[in-house]
Homo-oligomer: 337 residues x 2
DNA sequence: TTGTAAGCGTTATCAC
DNA sequence: GTGATAACGCTTACAA
């Protein structure tokens, strides 16, 4: 069943059929009706290969996910899938290792799939600086800010990581904590890790709290195991701290286990704060205190911006979505005991 | 850059170029070398649309994932992606709601994407019975057994859910437990839920343990929240039990939180066993006791079987991968106290 | 408003 | 072994 068959069946020419099916102008109401009906009746499915071959690009939207064990991104992919399903752009999701070069991968996929737009779930400034100029379709960087990159086809929707971390530390300090440890990503590589770290320092300075980067910080990857290992290292160094900030909920979970294996209780001995606000955190014992990102708004705005850039053109936009500090059971007031 | 350009550049005709690039016979060694080199030098990328338009089907492999919050499937998708990346089949991953009809979706995607093979991550017998005959490419059902369905293009690789659950209950009984509760999926719909439930009953009968389906079982969905809610319902009914079996680790996590909110400790008051063996379970406090599925072998064999069926034809195969009962911290011997 | 026809980049069938 | 050339199903000037 091709548009040729449809043309024969309806008595119109292929051009008219094509125009009718694609909602192009210059088709009489009647023709459009007849053709659409015939298409539905015969279960016609447009051959996407032919279409894309002719149009020189796919109509698809690409999602490049940085980091496979990032649960927040999984959540986002789900939401994005739902949103995009309402349009008729096919969605291609591609998972990259946390320390792969997501932009280079994007460039490659552009050649292979010729998408109409890309959503980068996570990304690092230096990768964008190095290779993003090779991409000329609308893109949105989700969860990291790209406003300072000044690419006019790169928008971004993000949480203000620096401010959020700063607030989280402020909150901990308000609870009476003075000795901190932080575990997170590799700041030399991950902007997210760097910004969250800087936010903490900002708060520490404001409150005159000392923090030794060498001794009180461990930077690795965002995963359960990394959280566990990093915390273990901190503990083995013999550092004493009453509050531990993990730059991701998954790390916080690993951290809590490591503390426990070291004979420390949460929150009695150490308060732990994560980052992300994963649904999982609400079911843990203790419930995880965390900096909750607005996952749904962030996903939603990203898709909206991408679609708008794809369809109406327009300049890149950079937005920030709110965060919330959730004080739950993994943190406590220091003078409680 | 097209094969035409390549032809001009090398002095050969497009036909020879095409043959060389596709490893077809009837190309001289020299021609092949020259052409491959020219292709690499110029960064040539085959236009898949043209190729597939001509060949009348894509070369892609499709993965239909049933249930978006199933972490084990996420893990599998990752492994599968790695495996398939070594071949040059593109991989398309499609996430379906837990109670969507995955086979109908597969049929639709077959029309749209014309894949060469499908991996179903999870699936229900009745959906396959109803519509699988519409699919005529090699498929593998992963994590559910399809041997009794007798489709000759449907293989399967699974854990023996019934036996695994039975063993899990045997183990709990060996620890001295006699009063059980089970939370899981909707047995009317989910084969997985049904089989795991039947396995439990089998063990109960063997050991002469009474179990009231109405009062001691709650069937909903596989998610944190569902696990929480189901457990809450059980508790509100006033049922007393010393062991709770959750048919999925995510449910077990929700369950533990619900128990705790009800003033019950795990494992002191109630032993909890999950199913799946998610990495996460090892970081929880208490570490989750569970029936661990062989995620990696299961994924691996699935891909191997699919590729073999796609390339060499051959009949459907049905394999089972081993499971392991992990006794960790969420279960205890009943006479310990 | 509609139809005709020229390609899009590839593969496959010929003839050489 | 190799090279023309005709499809594959679609979009889009251009013509009518």
């Amino acid at each position: 069943m091709t548009i040729k068959d449809l043309a024969k069946k309806t008595g119109y020419g292929v051009a008219t059929v094509s125009r009718a099916l694609n909602n192009h102008p210059n088709v009489s109401k009647k023709a459009r009706q007849v053709i659409i009906k015939a298409a539905q009746d015969s279960g016609f499915e447009m051959n996407q290969n032919a279409k894309q071959l002719k149009q020189q690009h796919a109509t698809s939207i690409l999602v490049v996910v940085k980091g496979t064990s990032n649960e927040m991104f999984s959540e986002m992919v789900e939401i994005i899938q739902g949103l995009v399903a309402k349009t008729d752009y096919p969605l291609i999701v591609d998972y990259q290792d946390e320390d792969a070069d997501e932009v280079l991968r994007g460039v490659q996929l552009c050649r292979e799939k010729k998408p109409k737009g890309i959503l980068f779930l996570g990304g690092n400034r230096q990768n964008f600086l190095a290779s993003f100029h090779k991409i000329d379709i609308p893109c949105v960087l989700v969860s990291n800010d790209a406003s300072e990159l000044h690419f006019d086809n790169l928008s971004s929707v993000s949480t203000d990581d620096r401010q959020a971390s700063c607030c989280a530390m402020d909150a901990l300090i308000a609870l009476g904590h003075r000795k901190f440890a932080i575990i997170g990503g590799d700041r030399a590589v991950s902007d997210t890790a760097r910004l969250r770290y800087e936010g903490c320092l900002q708060s520490f300075q404001k409150h005159n709290i000392s923090f030794d980067d060498d001794l009180d910080y461990q930077g690795t990857r965002f995963s359960y195991q990394a959280g566990y290992d990093a915390t273990r290292k901190l503990l083995l160094k013999g550092r004493k701290f009453t509050a531990l900030f993990a730059e991701a909920d998954v790390m916080a979970i690993g951290a809590i286990r490591a503390l426990r294996d070291h004979g420390l209780r949460v929150p009695e001995d150490v308060s732990v704060v994560g980052f992300d606000g994963l649904p999982l955190g609400g079911f843990l014992v203790p419930q995880l205190s965390t900096v909750a990102q607005s996952v749904k708004p962030m996903s939603q705005r990203s898709v909206e911006i991408l679609l708008s850039c794809m369809e109406k053109g327009g300049v890149a936009r950079h937005e920030t979505v709110p965060f919330t500090i959730w004080q739950r059971e993994s943190t406590r007031r220091l003078d409680d005991i």
